[in-house]
């Protein structure tokens, strides 16, 4: 093993795991002193083209409350055909099918390179994937047309046996029956009346007269043929296409000064109720397309009077958002129901104003669904993002999985405190559950209804070993992640990842521990904690907490002379961390200024589910500079990088900004790129476009693409992100020739660092 860098990279590639610490402090006390908890980012379904799934069931530890999966870390007695569970030390006989194993004939799960292994298990009948479109019809004609086309296009992307359903809503909610010939049938619900799941099923005629009493779960899902609302694509393709093309705008008149009445709440509850009644515990995707806020019925976010604007952060802070709590509670209840049944909910919200994502976000956050926010359905941002939902992997299968449950097992010195990500607790209180909760805690199992290869959860652990009961030298702690899910090809699969790290005594081996610090992962892990807190706490409190953590960390690991800020030094493994924190503080995840509640929700939604790389980009956007002076290079995210003769490409994950410096912009305006003799200029202009294209191709959701120049109004996207090292306050002190001043009162990184140093070295702290 070479450097920690390489080790970390290798682990991530193989297991999709990044720990904050790669050496674990051996006692609870020491662990708390490290400030950043032992925690990891785990990507359960990380794409592993090199990992073929095995076609048998995993072997489980026989202890009732353990059930860990046989893994390379287990001690195996080949002669006795016995293996010892490395979590509970239970000795288990191998099942009969393993009779032939020996040192030279080992099953895959015992080989070290298979610390992550995927099993295909045969359980129950395979049910096809289910896609239930929930479509808002209160749209402008142009938008609706675009949406129609996107939906029709999506039909061709679905596997032929997938079941589709269509619910449309406006003032009323219509559940369309797809199997009928000659007449288009739909069931209509009032948009204002809350209905129980049972009522919904009764009204849709889904109640089977007899099956009530029988408790037998096995026959749970209604056979596809009997559900008129969810039909195989290949059967109803034509019908549905016609239906979509005849889809009309909500016909109810919208009086002057009113918003259209939009029954999003009821529509979602019917979608959830429908699936609940027909396909519980089966992977299904509810896709909500909405063009505005819910304006009536349960879940309404704003009244239909245009003169009352939708809630802003200001209103919320003043406790002036009338519908906020009620609506949020309503959608949470829905989301939990959907999650219990393994169904995920996507929200595609396209409107210029807010659409109520703040209230509805939990639907996606708790079920692992996507949220896409755009200005209009008639934009490539939406169209391509939507299309990308159905993108296929190297095997030609959808990059989506359903109904996942992720379980965490730990060795006895470690307990799990919680998880942060698109999941809900399954309330499984096993032996390895910590009493201290961080994120969604109190359980060792979480449900993740919708998973993609990039879905990443943050898991937080607690070292419970007491200080006075040292772990033997060379001891290792292990964590096993067992993720069961329904693959997009409808197979049930189990992916097991088992990782181990060495214990280290923090007093004697603090240097080692420090060097095992993964500052990128830690930044993201701490950021997730911050974002998680921000959901329930006031912004300033979160920032204060974050600052305190940072200061404590610097105090712990910084080298300095007391009360001498200039003497402060951080080792290389921590050097970037304060900068991440600086940008995090300024990020839309923690700052609501200039963002609507919906935007904040949207940003946070993506932040708590993307993998480490993407998350880092979100925290600290990447800035590339293109010039005649050399190849494109990454530059500091600083106002000093904004130079007249450069083209900048900034990637914030959500936005992709191409910024032409003043001179370049003038040249471009003068049309030099069209003159043959300035071919190189043309190439220079083209280079960032190509790079941007590459990013656009790969990212989901597709970022907003912005092409701007010096002085352009859209340049604000760039200016708001860079470190304001030059502002109108210090402009003249810094001289004219470099960089561009930012008109802001925000502190710059330099000021931030100065303060940090001062506080870190302060003996008063």
């Amino acid at each position: 093993m070479a450097t920690y860098q390489e080790f970390i990279q290798q682990n991530e590639d193989r297991d999709g795991v990044r720990f904050s610490w790669n050496l674990w402090p051996s006692s609870r006390l020491e662990a708390t002193r490290l400030v950043v908890p032992v925690s990891c980012l785990f990507t359960p379904l990380k794409e592993r083209p090199d990992l073929p799934p095995v076609q048998y069931e995993p072997v489980l530890c026989s202890r009732a409350n353990c059930k860990a999966v046989l893994n390379p870390l287990c001690q195996v007695d080949f002669r006795a055909k016995i293996w010892a569970c490395n979590f509970c030390f239970q000795r288990n006989p191998f099942p009969p099918s393993y009779a032939g194993i020996s040192e030279v004939n080992q099953p895959a799960e015992l080989m070290p390179q298979f610390s992550t292994i995927e099993y295909i298990v045969q359980r129950g009948p395979q049910t096809p994937l289910i896609f239930l479109y929930v479509v808002d019809t209160c749209l402008e004609e142009e938008d609706l047309q675009a949406l129609r086309e996107s939906l029709q296009m999506s039909l061709s992307l679905l596997p032929p046996n997938a079941l589709v359903g269509l619910i449309t809503f406006g003032r009323m909610v219509q559940v369309h029956e797809l199997s009928c010939e000659g007449i288009a049938k739909s069931y209509v619900f009032r948009g204002t009346k809350e209905l129980s799941s049972k009522q919904i099923q009764e009204m849709l005629g889904l109640m089977k007269p007899a099956s009530q009493g029988a408790q037998g779960r096995p026959s749970a899902p209604e056979t596809p043929a009997t559900c008129r609302f969810l039909q195989p694509v290949h059967k109803v393709d034509m019908n549905l296409t016609d239906l979509l093309s005849e889809l009309q705008r909500d016909p109810w008149p919208v009086p002057q000064g009113k918003r259209p009445l939009r029954s999003t709440g009821i529509a979602l509850s019917i979608a959830v109720g429908l699936l609940e009644g027909t396909f519980p515990n089966t992977g299904a995707r509810v896709m909500l397309f909405t063009g505005g806020p819910p304006t009536q019925g349960p879940g309404m976010v704003v009244g239909d009077e245009l003169k009352t604007p939708i809630r802003s952060w200001h209103d919320i802070q003043k406790d002036n958002a009338r519908h906020l709590k009620k609506a949020t509670k309503y959608y949470e209840a829905l989301a939990n129901r959907a999650a219990v049944n393994g169904h995920c909910i996507d929200i595609y919200a396209c409107a210029l104003d807010q659409t109520g994502l703040l209230e509805m976000k939990c639907c996606s956050n708790l079920t692992g669904g996507h949220i896409v926010m755009g200005d209009s359905f008639n934009t490539s941002l939406f169209k391509q993002t939507f299309q990308r939902v159905f993108s296929k992997d190297y095997n030609g299968e959808f990059r989506m999985a359903f109904g996942g449950t992720m379980e965490v097992k730990t060795t006895r010195e470690l307990k799990v405190s919680g998880a942060i990500g698109p999941c809900v607790s399954l309330n499984n209180k096993g032996p390895c559950v910590s009493e201290n909760e961080m994120g969604i805690g109190g359980t060792s199992q979480w449900k993740v209804c919708g998973l993609s290869p990039s879905t990443t959860l943050a898991l937080y652990f607690e070292v419970v070993n007491q200080h006075n009961a040292p772990i033997p030298q060379g001891g290792r702690g292990a964590v096993q992640f067992i993720t069961q899910y329904q693959h997009s090809n409808t197979q049930r699969r189990v992916r097991v990842t088992t990782v181990a790290r060495n214990w280290a005594d923090a007093q004697s081996q603090i240097q080692h521990i420090e060097s095992s610090f993964d500052q990128e992962a830690s930044a993201v892990l701490m950021a997730r904690l911050g974002v998680f807190r921000a959901e329930s706490e006031e912004g300033p409190d979160v920032l204060r907490w974050l600052d305190r953590q940072l200061i404590r960390l610097c105090q712990k690991f910084g080298q300095f002379n007391k009360d001498d800020p200039t003497s402060f030094r951080l080792s290389e493994s921590l050097s970037l961390y304060p900068q991440f924190m600086f940008h995090l503080r300024r990020s839309p995840f923690l700052q609501v200024f200039n963002n609507s509640p919906d935007e904040s929700s949207y940003y946070r939604h993506h932040f708590v589910r993307q993998d480490l790389t993407q998350s880092l980009i979100m925290i600290q956007p990447i800035l590339y500079s293109y010039s005649f002076y050399g190849p494109p290079e990454p530059v500091l995210l600083d106002s000093s990088s904004i130079l007249p003769d450069r083209i900048l490409l900034m990637d914030t994950f959500f936005q992709l900004v191409i910024y032409h410096g003043e001179t370049i912009a003038q040249w471009r305006k003068a049309g030099y790129q069209d003159m043959p003799e300035y071919e190189n200029f043309k190439q220079l202009l083209q280079a960032p476009l190509d790079d941007a294209q590459e990013i656009l191709q790969a990212r989901h959701p597709m970022p907003r693409y912005i092409d701007t120049e010096h002085g352009g109004s859209q340049a604000r996207f760039l200016l708001s992100k860079v470190n304001p090292s030059q502002t109108h306050n210090n402009l003249y002190a810094w001289g004219q020739e470099t960089g561009a001043p930012i008109l802001t009162d925000d502190v710059s990184l330099q000021v931030f660092m100065d303060h940090l140093k001062k506080l870190a070295v302060s003996s008063a702290a």
Partner: protein, 1021 residues
Amino acid sequence: MSQQGYVATPPYTQTQPGIGGYPAGFGAPPSQPLYGHYGPPPQSYPSGQIGVLKSPATLATAVPTAPSPAQYSPNGLQNGAPTQRLPPPMSSPSVPQHGQPPSAMSPSPASAVPAPPPAQQLTNQLSGMQISGYGHTPLQGPQSPPPNPAAPPLFHPSPPNMGHLPPMSPGASSPMMTTPPPIGGPGTHPGPPPFGGGFQQPPGPAGPQGFPGQPGPYGGHMPGPQPAFPGGLPSGPAQMAGPPQKKLDPDSIPSTTQVIEDDQTKRGGQIYATNLRGQVPPLVTTDFVVQDQGNASPRYMRCTTYYFPCTADLAKQCKVPLASIIRPFAAVPKEETPLYLVNHGETGPIRCNRCKAYMCPFMQFTDGGRGYQCHFCNCVNEVPAFYFQHLDHTGRRMDLHERPELSLGSYEFTATLEYCKNKKLPNPPAFIFMIDVSYANIKSGLVRLLCEELKTLLDRLPREEGAEGTGIRVGFVTYNKILHFYNVKSGLTQPQMMVVSDVAETFLPLLDGFLVNFQESRSVIHNLLDQIPDMFSDTSESETVFAPVIQAGVEALKAAECSGKLFIFHSAMPTAEAPGKLKNRDDRKLINTDKEKTLFQPLKGVYEQLVQDCVSIGCCVDLFLFPSQYVDVATMGSVCLHTGGSIYKYNNFQVSVDGDHFLSDLRRDVEKPIGFDAIMRVRTSTGFRPTDFYGAMYMNNTTDVQMAAVDSDKAIVVEFKHDDTLTEETGALIQCALLYTSVGGQRRLRIHNLSLNCSSQLADLYKSCETDALINFFAKSAYRAMVNQPLKAVREILVSQTARMLACYRKHCASPSAVSQLILPDAMKVLPVYMNSLLKSPALVSSTDLSTDDRALQRMTVTSMGVEDTQVLFYPRLIPLLNMEAFGEGLPAAVRCSEERLSEGGLFLLENGRHLFLWLGQACSPELIQNLFNVPSFAHIGPDVKSLPELDNPQSKKLWSIIESIRQQRCHSLKLVIVKQKDQQEVLFRQHLVEDKGLHGGASYMDFLCFVHREIRQLLS
């Protein structure tokens, strides 16, 4: 006198005159033969005769006899004879004319020995009833019957004065008329003479006699009545058969058929000009043409009496209800002018400033045309400048005849925004078809039948006069325990169905495309109608909802901002879990107890609210029921009843049996003239005011009658009470203003004006009464009362009121006579038979054999009926079909509704406006059976024969043409039921023979008369 008590032979006597009808009867017999020759004579008879028929008969006799002289004259007068005073003068003049009659009479007299009685009133005692013995038994009258030949007449309706008019022609001098009661009019007409008279008149006891003698044809009819002699009669050419028989003859009691026939004879085929105040119109059964000359046609408004008493005391004394039956949308025959539409421009119709009465012929222009006095409230108003017109030398406006509102009794105004809901012009109304597609309706084939029919029916939606297409939009809903709405927008390639399962709070799931223009969406609608029967063909759903269906309709209309009508085709009691769920409350144990009324009380709550919703939006509900058992019509129908809708019920519906019947009901219902979202206000001149209203309507306050819709069949009864005294000079004016939305979506005001006379003499009132209108009123008031009071009490009130009215007449208007005589005012002489029929009507009879639903249904349908409908309902037409070849054009004359009139060898049609029976006597000639049924004999006709084949022979054709012409006269389709004598089915038929003892209780006509007479005597003593 010679006669026995019962016989009121000599009607002449005082009372005499009046009843033209009767007389006719009398006259008839004798005259008939003569008729031909003497047209006139008959007339005389009639009139003369006075009241009661018998008397007439007697008349004849009378003449000869001593009494005659006195009476005579009256006779001559004919009706005129109104009592006492007036007559004399009049009579004399008339006499001349009558002269003839006398002659006619004379012959008869001869025969008619029985001299009637100089005694005045006829007397019959009811004891006479024994009469039942009829003919043969000679009387056992209480007194020893002298050998009277003639059967003693029973009653005499004493014709009040009409007599005077007798002067022949209707045209008669108007002046006279005025004084004399309008009735005179009729008198004059007595046209009876002409043949018609012949038959009908039979009434007179004499009749019988006469018959024999009569010419075949006529005779036929006449005789018919008499049970005994059927055979003979027909043939009898002669008139007065010889000597009267002695016995109490059923024919001696006033006969409705006779009255009808007399009126037809007298006034049939004539023009009835409405230029006179308080003019009594011809009977509803008479064919006449109305010429509007300032008063509303009797088709629109009929009154119980055309002479209002001047004071409240008088009104109270006589007990005769003062009411007007208004049928604002009545259909008028082609030969009458439709209503003119008047547009007064932006200011809207000109109205009196104080009482808001609309400009009408009763406004008196003054001050050279600059002002006008409203005769309703006497306020003097200024004439708006644009409306100014000079007056002529008589003080009438020069443009009188150019302006309908100044010269006509009925016309329409174009309403302005002021008269519209929310000050917005209305949209054209909509028709929504709501079809129950539960198992029962699918299985019976109804749904398929209906859908097929709608495809063509929708092309015939009512349209505005002169409009090219209809403005009415249509919509479709099917339902069982959930509702299915259909989007049939014209652009769609296929219809869209929208299911609403949330019946707890029904709503309209779509806006655009639900209500469409049929022409534009024809193909989509056809597509839909093709699919509906198949879509539900395998349904097993048997539960239905009801209130949510109506609610859905209301929501639809509300959303479309229009009024309209729901056509609901429903199978069974709504038992599914939903608002308005019903349970069986048909508790047979309640029948005949004080709680029986609860069976007819609609459930409150949901249904009450529904009614209010419907009315406020202008949503009329028509209900077609296809039940196989109890459905609680009382509750379900209540919505229809209060929204101006109709209820149709087809028990155990089978397409093969009831299909045509149902379809023709449906067609009529869809096509009939109708107005929506109507508010009616009745204004009167000072001294009296409307106090009570009956009909298919809803009232929020005491003056405005709200009707979600009002069609040509619906009538509203308005009852008036005095609040001051009326004077004979000014009379009583009534203006009915109906604000409504036309089928084309125009807001209009329909105005009907009627002027009545006032008198401080009760005699005037009695002679101008109209029995048919009275019965209409009594039926409605009784049917309303029956939900609040025990049925027994309701029946008692009816009887006692009848007795009081008659007793009052006897006391104040008839000349003194033996108490034992029953004297009836001429205009009311058949009131008892109608009243008895009403008492025996299913709704009022407490019998466990009758279905509660049917009773409730009758209660509701009668509530909105016009006079024409109640007349035939309470006295069905029984038409003998003995010699079909012999009939000319038109219908054979009806005979009295009694089993006595049936003959084993005959064929009879009976219709009451709802049902049509063809009764086959056991002894029908095989030849006839062959011709009509295409089977060799009576025995070959199956017991459950359902239909009558249409065969190519004169008899069959004739029968069919008779059936068709009957059907055309009625606003409901008549389902033909074939009844074989002695067959089980005969019970159904027999219950319509209203002169007989009721099958489920209720007295025979004769018994009832006796009873009433006893009551009267009690009252008088």
